[in-house]
């Protein structure tokens, strides 16, 4: 426990507190009155209002589109299901710059919709909402669908036998069992859309701003640190509330359900209705997820002889000091280190959380570990810059900052993947081993490790994919001579010229393929008891 706590204290709480304090403390005196001042500004109220309603709308839309998908993935068996499950997860681990770009290529000027029907959605709220569905589809499918696949269908059938209508049987048997999972997924999607940054910044234009974007503008562009600090606190409070709710639903979810192996619940669709449902879900995936990704690939190939890909290896584009292709190597190196850190910290934390004598405090830490998902990446990035610049922790000039920031985002995924599996390990096994004289280390190696190995691999895979795509914090601390892949994409997009745009598309495509391969490998490793992602 000590190590995860120390890690979060030093690399999360301290930098965030430092940047907030920089904004709110003048000459050693806290200026808490600023909170009221900021809250009464009409512009800020507008931002709060927009943040909330677009998150609500995005969440509702995502559920509407993704719940049928969750059902289909859980209950139907069809060829290519594994690949498709990996494909719908790709957007989730893609950096938001790439997602934004994919959508811009689809709905922006000269995009596919513009060419076909003269419809442009950029700078409208629709582009933002659709991108959020694209982005979060997998959260619903994996969280809800994962559980749905393991619910014993015989319970519902039994209710039917006893005379319940299909609707009633579903409402009284399946829905209550699924409820907590749906709630958990809803809250996660709400959290991700509430703190949305890249999507809103790229697709929203200057008119739309979420809290997260506003924190970025106030810190990075307007340099109004007090306002940024107040907004950070507001976001912190909101995110804590969401996470507290989430922790509560998760605990309810872990209450005893009769679960069966997912492979026995799925079967081929039967009858016109089921085939139509499958077709509908596949069509929505094709339009909302595959199409934007395909546009990205098409744009990257939109020059003879793979010119955009070949340009990636040339050093004199003027945008970087190094050929853009090196960003791929940088990203992979950073992601490996970040994964090691995240698995270590997350694994230790998960192990601590499963201990039977874990008290209230430790369980509270569970929710706390999720906080980095919801706290502004900009705040973390700037916090790193101003807080970690003195011995003994003078890391500012060091490359380790980037993987550390990425690991912060990876840890929650590791914890959430490991926790259910670790909790399922029968405690009596550990006790028996200990009674027979095994050292704690040996107990872990002989009892826990074999059971959690696959979960550990999945956790590592997710941490790796998330680190690869992390953008918000990395962009502030990555050195210009050592850009990561998402940072390189953003930089290329910021420069005018067809070749720069093409290279950005090519790099995004490469990143997408790497993520897809990682996810396909994970699909093969799925545990019999699902985690939450």
């Amino acid at each position: 426990m000590a190590l995860p706590v120390a890690f979060f204290g030093v690399f999360f709480a301290y930098p965030v507190a430092a940047i907030v304090a920089r904004g709110l403390r003048v000459d050693g005196v806290w200026q808490l009155g600023r909170i009221g001042d900021v809250l009464t500004q009409p512009d800020i109220r507008h931002v709060l209002w927009f943040t909330t309603w677009q998150a609500l709308a995005s969440t509702a839309l995502t559920l509407l589109v993704a719940l049928p998908g969750a059902y289909v993935f859980a209950r139907y068996d069809f060829p290519g299901k594994q690949i498709l499950r990996a494909v719908v997860t790709v957007p989730f681990v893609l950096p938001t710059v790439v997602v934004g770009t994919a959508f811009l290529a689809l709905v922006g000027r000269g995009g596919l919709l513009d060419e076909w029907w003269g419809v442009r959605l950029d700078t409208t709220v629709w582009a933002i909402l659709l991108a959020h569905v694209f982005f979060n589809y997998a959260v619903v499918v994996r969280t809800v669908g994962g559980l749905w696949a393991q619910l014993d269908p015989r319970q519902e059938e039994a209710a039917r036998m006893l005379g319940a209508s299909p609707l009633k049987a579903w409402r009284q048997v399946t829905l209550p069992a699924l409820g907590p999972a749906v709630a958990a997924a809803t809250l996660m999607v709400f959290l991700f859309t509430f703190t949305s940054f890249g999507v809103v910044q790229i697709l929203g234009g200057p008119t739309f701003s979420t809290l997260e974007v506003e924190i970025y503008r106030q810190t990075s562009e307007i340099f109004d640190l007090p306002t940024a600090a107040v907004l950070t606190i507001i976001q912190f409070v909101a995110v804590s509330a969401i996470l507290a709710l989430h922790a509560w639903t998760v605990r309810r979810r872990e209450s005893a359900l009769r679960l069966v192996d997912a492979s026995v619940t799925a079967r081929r669709p039967r009858g016109a209705g089921q085939w139509a449902l499958l077709a509908g879900v596949l069509a929505s995936i094709a339009v909302l997820i595959v199409l934007p990704l395909a546009v990205l690939v098409q744009r990257s190939l939109d020059a003879p002889d793979f010119a955009y890909y070949r340009a990636l290896t040339s050093g004199d584009s003027g945008v970087f000091l190094v050929p853009p292709i090196e960003a791929i190597g940088n990203s992979l190196e950073y992601a490996v280190v970040a994964t090691v850190i995240a698995v270590l910290i997350g694994g230790l934390a998960a192990a601590a959380l499963t201990r039977r004598d874990a008290g209230r405090f430790v369980r509270g830490f569970d929710a706390l570990l999720m906080l980095p998902l919801g706290v502004s990446a900009v705040t973390v990035g700037f916090g790193f810059l101003i807080a970690l610049d003195e011995p003994p922790l003078d890391l500012r000039a060091s490359w380790i900052l980037v993987p550390l920031a990425q690991a912060l985002v990876g840890v929650p995924f590791v914890v959430r993947t490991m926790l259910p599996v670790l909790r399922a390990v029968d405690h009596r096994l550990r006790e028996a081993a200990a009674v027979l004289g095994a050292s704690p280390w040996r107990v872990w190696r002989e009892v826990d490790l074999p059971m959690v190995r696959r979960a550990l691999l999945i956790a590592a895979g997710f941490a790796f994919a998330v680190s690869l795509g992390e953008f918000g914090a990395t962009v502030f601390i990555a050195r210009p001579d050592n850009p990561t892949l998402p940072v390189a994409v953003a930089k290329l997009l910021g420069r005018a010229g067809q070749l720069n745009y093409g290279q950005a598309m090519a790099l995004s495509t490469i990143l997408m393929v790497v993520c897809a391969v990682a996810l396909l490998v994970l699909e093969r490793l799925r545990t019999d008891r699902t985690g939450e992602f």
Binding site: L3, R109, I345, L348, F382, I386, L395, P480, G494
Partner: protein, 358 residues
């Protein structure tokens, strides 16, 4: 959890952290006193041979950190000023100068050749915390073809822009996130005064001005006169850009046009000056001073225009022919005292945002 139970993993993390420290130490030692680090925004550029000549002459290796767009680079430099990322910072302009000075970003140093800087560009002359390096005008550019086709005279003043014949033609940048956007706002404030500019912007908004976030988007995606805009089938023939943009269209034209496809609306210009300075707490102050001296040499000042598309500030420095022909500096640009900008900038940007964007 008691971490004694997990010695192996703790050693693992220890190694990671150690290797991190190790590598940062390597960074420090290779930096040494013979390397001088320049922190700048993304638009920094210099000819390779010019820089190589400086390195050879002075014995310093120049390392450049391009750190985001202009505003972001300044803010980051201020946040890290106690332990700066480099020795010299280049790229703070007159609209943000006061923020840098008030926050103690720079230390005093009067660069060699300061006496040769044209008087109108000098600033902070009693303390010499900054050195002017280049200048340029932020002006409305127009698409010549469009105005020919429509038999319309291009606008030439701020007043023209609110006339009905120019309705829905202008695209500008967000004043809170883009430096030409801010320059244009300050230009209108200089022209119409502290009370009048808001009224002007109301009329401009009613006349269909479009606001986008950054210069790239405005110039290359919305403006019909630029090469990028033509490719993107852009439809706005007026854009807030620079006086040096028309020469850039000629120099980078492929094939090179015989004359500039765009022009500058003379009466809409706001004068921008960019400064460099020696960072407080710089590690290599001697190298930093040498680098500042270098930026005022005739070699560097002559080289600058075609690299960064700005004008020199040094007396007698050469301005390329394309510049004098297609994008001369305005005769009588709007200007504003940095102190006045400092006092009003944030309030103006806030009111502008509420007025124009919401």
């Amino acid at each position: 959890m008691n971490n004694k139970k997990y010695p192996a993993v703790c050693v693992g993390l220890g190694l990671v952290l150690l290797s991190a420290c190790g590598s940062s130490d390597d960074g420090e030692s290779s930096r040494g006193s013979k390397t001088v680090t320049l922190v700048s925004h993304d638009s920094w550029a210099v000819s390779k041979d010019v820089l190589a000549a400086f390195e050879k002459e002075s014995g310093y290796q120049v390392k450049v950190l391009e750190d985001g767009d202009a505003g972001q680079a300044v803010n980051k430099a201020i946040l890290t000023k106690d332990n700066p990322q480099g020795d010299v910072f280049f790229g703070v302009d007159n609209t943000l100068l006061s923020r840098a000075l008030d926050n103690g970003l720079f230390q005093s140093y009067e660069a060699k050749g300061s006496d040769l800087i044209l008087p109108e560009y000098r600033a902070d002359e009693d303390k010499h915390r900054v050195t002017p390096v280049d200048t340029g005008d932020i002006c409305v550019n127009y698409d010549k073809q469009y105005f020919e086709d429509h038999k319309l005279t291009p606008p030439s003043s701020f007043d023209d822009l609110i006339k009905p014949e120019y309705k829905n033609l202008l695209v500008t940048e967000n004043a809170s996130t883009s430096s030409p956007g801010l320059g244009f706002l300050l230009g209108t404030a200089a022209q119409y005064g502290d009370d009048g500019w808001q009224d002007y912007w109301k009329k401009l908004k009613a006349n269909g001005v479009k606001v986008v976030d950054g210069w790239e988007q405005a110039y290359n995606e919305e403006f019909s006169g630029s090469a990028g805009g033509k490719a993107a089938k852009a439809d706005r023939p007026l854009v807030v850009s620079y006086a040096s943009s028309p020469p850039a269209e000629v120099i980078y034209g492929d094939p090179k046009p015989t004359t500039a496809p765009t022009g500058v609306a003379e009466g809409t210009c706001f004068r921008q000056v960019e400064y460099a300075g020696l960072l407080s707490n710089a590690e290599n102050t001697e190298g930093g001073k040498a680098l500042l001296d270098f930026m005022l040499t005739k070699t560097f000042q002559d080289d600058m225009p075609l690299n960064m598309f700005v004008y020199p500030v040094r007396e007698g420095a050469q301005v390329p022919e394309e510049f004098t022909e297609y994008g001369p500096l305005a005769e009588d640009p709007e200007t504003m005292d940095p102190a006045k900008i400092a006092a009003n900038r944030d309030d103006w940007v806030k009111s502008w945002t509420s007025l124009v964007l919401k």
